[in-house]
């Protein structure tokens, strides 16, 4: 195979990327490793949201709900002494899915902007509970001191370096799982629903049920990211339910391109880097971010990754 052919092939960029990711801790300081961990966690969160936004056409504005539920569950379990990662992650996923199952019943009745409003309001209810129920959640003060979990096999996750590879591994697993899910007949049906609900109904599909199951899957995968984040930051508080988090995930999808495999990762990368690095340059970092978001949406409304894909063809 000629070199030019390899470079144009579909596996070149991802493989190059994977190599860079593995070598990252040796090229940059630990601070960047920490940022990379954040990027992977947010990428998982954005990918879970993409099931709804990119594939089913359900613009959820309250996705942080499942992230937060899993996060608090992780916090409670850890502070109660449960150190086994696998136990906690299954519970986190389960609770994320359960919350989605409950919220889905309420939200999927609505469409479009109404759906957005309801999902937003639902996540706010959880925020309000977390904020006010001080006896359980310690309210705004949050629960600090959450340590790293044990995954067995003698691996210690306390150093960021190992947690980084671990997070990357989880990311890959989720990536593959979602790839399988979204390229299955189920995934095709979801996209069919996004294209035209009426047509799918006419074809005999139980549209509501498909949306509902997709919603639950999104909650389950969001739960993974919620748990990982709490393990990384060592802390959980009501902002894990925040509307800014839900909106940020949407921004990641817009920036990176929704409906694509790597779009969420790219979007997550851009936003996490922007947020962390711009503040090193100026106190007006919030203004800069706002201008960047507005500019990108105005210019690249279909997502940067999609713009690239189009350019490549």
């Amino acid at each position: 195979m000629k070199v030019a052919e390899i470079i144009k092939g579909p596996f070149f960029l991802p493989s190059l990327f994977a190599v860079l990711i593995i070598l990252l801790p040796f090229l940059f300081s630990n601070y960047y490793v920490g940022l990379a961990i954040q990027i992977f966690i947010m990428a998982i969160f954005a990918m879970s949201l993409d099931i709804l936004v990119g594939h089913t056409g359900l613009p959820s504005m309250g996705h942080a709900a499942y992230y937060g539920v899993a996060g608090y569950a992780t916090g409670f379990l850890c502070l109660a002494g449960v150190k086994n990662f696998w136990l906690v992650i299954v519970l986190g996923m389960g609770l994320g899915g359960l919350t989605a199952a409950f919220f889905g019943l309420l939200a999927i009745r609505a469409r479009g902007p109404y759906f957005m409003l309801i999902t937003l309001a639902l996540s706010q209810v959880l925020w309000g509970i977390a904020f006010k129920w001080r006896s359980v959640t310690k309210g705004d003060d949050g629960l600090p001191g959450i340590g790293r979990p044990e995954i067995g096999m003698g691996i210690d996750l306390k150093p960021d370096l190992y947690f980084y590879y671990f997070t990357f591994a989880i990311f890959l697993i989720v990536l593959v799982a979602l790839f399988i899910l979204l390229n299955s007949p189920f995934g095709y049906t979801l996209r069919g629903i996004r294209e035209s609900e009426s047509r799918m109904k006419a074809l005999g599909y139980h549209v509501w049920l498909y949306k509902y199951v997709g919603f639950i899957f999104a909650g389950i995968f969001a739960g993974i990211s919620g748990a990982l984040w709490v393990y990384y930051s060592g802390f959980v508080n009501p902002s894990n339910f925040g509307v800014d988090l839900s909106v940020k995930a949407l921004l990641m999808l817009i920036l990176g391109g929704s409906g694509s495999l790597f779009g969420p990762l790219i979007g997550a990368g851009i936003i996490v880097l922007l947020e962390n690095l711009v503040s090193g340059f100026t106190e007006r970092w919030s203004l800069v971010l706002g201008i960047v978001y507005v500019t990108v949406i105005m210019l690249f409304s279909e997502g940067i990754f999609s713009a690239f894909k189009r350019g490549r063809n």
Binding site: P113, L117, I118, V247, L289, G290, V294, I297
Partner: protein
């Protein structure tokens, strides 16, 4: 007895301020289906501009006029220059408004600093009056008055004017509106400007007792959200009833059960979401 009167008046004054902010939010959503995350930013901007004018002139009316004009201009610019491009693409519109929240909030922080301030009250309403043997600030009565006047004004606008009829039609059935030959973009700009104006007036009215500070934009947005969920989107009547409900329940909730304070705000919202997600007076989207 005096306790109940005071708390009712209190709740009403808070309700009226909520109504100002929520009515604009519900109009914008009802007609254009935009969740205007930057709605609280109108409150913020208007209160700060009003503050500057107040410090210079000590004239509350003038400050209100100035801040209203400013906020309407910003709203119109937002809609016609940016949001309009994404007609029917609600997701992009919402994200744009999020960008504006950051921009407006940081500009305000840069210009006015982070120190929380309370706007000085209009000189006529600085004192407190006696109700029975209890004292009540006259400014709160002014707030109730303004709220009622604006509510009536909006009702007249909606029911009795041509523009109001167009808006009502648009909220009910947008396709019909588009087909009727009316310049729908002008209607959108007008309603967005009106929404901004209402929120801006809310900022001036709320400024003296809620104050203005970084973060008030998000708190106002969340309150508007609760009101609109309970009252029903797209409905001014819903916004009014929702505001009354939230203001009174929140007030009495705090007075009678202070340990449950935030819960009194979110529990009704959660219940409505579970039973009738379009709210008490909202339209059902089929």
């Amino acid at each position: 007895m005096a306790f109940w009167i005071i708390q009712t008046l209190n709740g009403l004054s808070f309700s009226m301020m909520l109504f100002l902010v929520a009515s604009g939010f519900t109009l914008i959503f009802g007609l254009m289906k935009i969740i205007n995350i930057a709605h609280g930013s109108f409150y913020l901007l208007s209160a700060y501009i009003g503050l500057t004018v107040l410090r210079a002139t000590e004239n509350f009316l003038l400050a209100t006029v100035a801040s209203s004009i400013a906020v309407v201009l910003v709203g119109i610019a937002m809609q016609s220059l940016f949001l309009r491009r994404f007609y029917m693409k609600e997701l992009q519109q919402v994200l744009l408004t999020f960008g504006f929240v950051l921009i407006i909030a940081d500009l305000c922080l840069w210009i006015w600093g982070g120190n929380p301030v309370a706007l000085p009250k209009p000189s006529l309403f600085r004192g407190s009056i006696w109700i029975g043997n209890v004292v009540f600030p006259s400014y709160r009565l002014f707030v109730i008055l303004v709220g009622v006047i604006i509510a009536v004004g909006l009702w007249i606008f909606q029911e009795k004017t041509k523009f109001g009829a167009i808006v009502r039609a648009g909220v009910d059935d947008e396709e019909m509106l588009r087909g009727s030959g009316i310049n729908i973009q002008m209607v959108f700009v007008g309603v967005f400007g009106l929404g901004a104006l209402l929120a801006g007036i809310g900022g001036m009215i709320g400024g003296p007792f809620v104050g203005v500070f970084p973060g008030v934009d998000i708190s106002m947005l969340l309150l508007a959200l609760v009101v609109v969920i309970i009252g029903g989107v797209g409905s001014l009547k819903g916004a009014f009833v929702g505001s009354l409900f939230v203001g009174l329940v929140d007030n009495f909730g705090k007075a009678l059960f202070p340990e449950l304070s935030l819960f009194t705000l979110f529990a009704p919202m959660a219940i409505i979401l579970a039973i009738r997600p379009t709210g008490l007076f909202g339209k059902i989207e089929e």
